[in-house]
């Protein structure tokens, strides 16, 4: 399964789906919803956490959360 955790810096993708229960509601509210575009802006050392641009929102999440969100490359 391809997830946000696999994205390289600057790569864009579309969020496909994820198990709602595992992902914090706050992330959904910030725009992490199926169909929205996601891009990795920066990675901290060891690719964790990831600094993302999701649907125009800039936010950072940990790799473990990113690995739960399935994507489709653009």
């Amino acid at each position: 399964m391809l997830t946000i955790a696999h994205l390289k810096r600057g790569q864009r993708a579309i969020i496909k789906s994820f198990e709602v229960e595992n992902v914090p509601l706050k992330l959904l509210e910030m725009g992490c919803l199926p169909g929205n575009e996601v891009m990795v802006v920066q990675q901290a050392p060891f690719r964790d956490p990831l600094y993302l641009n999701i649907n125009g929102s800039h936010l950072a999440i940990r790799k473990e959360t990113a690995a739960l969100i399935e994507i489709e490359l653009l």
């Binding site: 914090p24 959904l28 509210e29 910030m30 725009g31 802006v41 956490p49 600094y51 950072a60």
Partner: protein
Amino acid sequence: MARQINVALIGNPNTGKTSVFNRLTGLNQQVGNYPGITVEKKQGVCKLDRGLKAHIIDLPGTYSLNASSLDENVVIELLLNKNDKDFPDVAIVVADVENLKRNLLLFTQIKDLGIPAILAINMADRMKRKAISVDIAALEERLETKVVLVSSRKNEGFDTLKELVINHTTLSTKPCVNASVIAPEYFGRLKKAFPNQDLYKLWLVITQDVNFGKLERGELNTIATFQTESKSNLKRLQQKETIARYQFINGVLKETLTIDTANAKDFRSRLDRILTHKVWGYAIFFGILMLIFQVIFDWSSYPMDFIDSSFASLSEWVKNTLPPGDFTNLLAEGIISGLGGIIIFIPQIAFLFLFIAILEESGYMSRVVFLMDRIMRRFGLSGKSVVPLVSGTACAIPAIMATRNIESWKERLITILVTPFTTCSARLPVYLIIIALVIPEQRVLGIFSLQGLTLMFLYLLGFGAAIFSAWLLNKFLNIRSKTFFVVEMPNYKVPMFKNVAITVIEKTKSFVLGAGKIILAISIILWVLASYGPGDFNNASAIVMQEESSNSLSEEELETKIAAFKLEKSYIGIMGKAIEPAVQPLGYDWKIGIAIVSSFAAREVFVGTLATIYSVGSEEEETIKNRMAAEVNPVLGTPRFNFASGVSLLLFYAFAMQCMSTLAVVKRETNSWKWPMWQLIAMSAIAYVVALGAYQFLK
């Protein structure tokens, strides 16, 4: 009397609520706490016109009405409780023009609650550069409310905003998104069970995570038990709700907002590439910390020397001018010396708050969170723990409150427990005076002052102690809690002068007033205890004269001997002697012992206490520092404050838990006495052992 209406400022974090608040209220504001919890509550008054005043509350930032932290919960509690005296007559929803889509999510929720809501789109000054344009009239029509573009930075749009607030009664309260579209069947059942309640309000109460302590729900209490769906189903419904809201918002914005995305490679991404870089990012962060500590030490010395000498002359002036007597002595020796001991630190405290405010305001703090998360996680902390640990250098109390946005309870608890190790500004007075006494005034490599480096080392030691104990706690605390971590990375901003100035003034004022009260009380008590005594105290001159009759002493020497004898036989001397055996192995005498004991109320009391004890009975007024330098160890004949005892004292203050207010806050934040008591015992024990080791090794 003017009529008053309640206005609440609501919005996502970093949209400029506080800036709007500052524009509307100026310095006409107070910062307090919400009852029972330690979320900061800012309120102020703004004169509208026609004899109308607005009582404005700056609510904590929140992304939605689904609370996931204590902070956000305050917002929901207020909006759900019509009987609250602060319940808004009208809400101003502050949005950032660059993040309109996300900001509107919260707006639609507030509107759906039936609260009149004005949409204030802030940061209008950035629209030109970002090629953003908003069709206000169309937006007003689609959202069925009033919309205003404002710029807190340029002070534009506020007259219109005030006008809208005055006319708030004309606002429509029709919902944007009908709640029952989320799940018709479920909402149908809800409606049947509670026919008189507002559906959306019911839904909010049912879905709130209730992990934040006892909430005042009033009449709504009963429905919290209405749970016809499993938790995961409820969450699925919340996702549906979010999607429905975004659908509505996308529809609205498609017609009203245009952004020319041509200039995508902007300032922000260029700056991010450096500031969050794998190597440069860390180097810059470290450099900034280094700069802050150098500045605090170097720049503040000028105003501090001035304050120091002013207080010494003031005290002398009082002694020489007022009629001699107990009251004059109390004023000159107790109160003025005690207050001088705290006022002298205003420059440094103000500088520290200045830097922290700038780091927060500029948006840089979030980058630090991003950079540090992985490293902090190793020690059981979160990237978000960096903010408490850095603001802990100002004061542990707001720092502990700043842990509220850490999502995982274990990470948050560990952060709360270790934050008091960071060097708060109350330790600064002690450090500075001891460093000035025992560390030579030299420069290293021609630029860094050795004293500045020592101070920096103490700050690093504080961080080190915090990190190390976090690692231990992480190993031994057996708490399971779900960890997740979402941080917004705001745009970089040039800090607004007004915001920074207000923060510095507010925080410094509350520090000085808070500490000032304790210090004043303690100086008076100490002065009384040092100026009176039982038995021998009252015959001091006779006894000393008799003892010394064989030695031919000058008048002056005799006076000094009498004063010293009196101090020893006073109440405080007797108490000090009683605890002396406990502090002697650390290199202290009973006077320092008393200072340490009294600083369990608050650390900054140390200097004031010594000032009071030393000045009692001494004829000429000297500055505290000179007086301390002159103090000798009668057994060894060396200065009392030498390298060994100085280092021992520095280490003691670095580790000891000496602050009642911090303990009280920890109790409130953790909801039990267990954690603050552990903190007190463990930290004091560590302090004692380390100081003991250092003195015995160095002496």
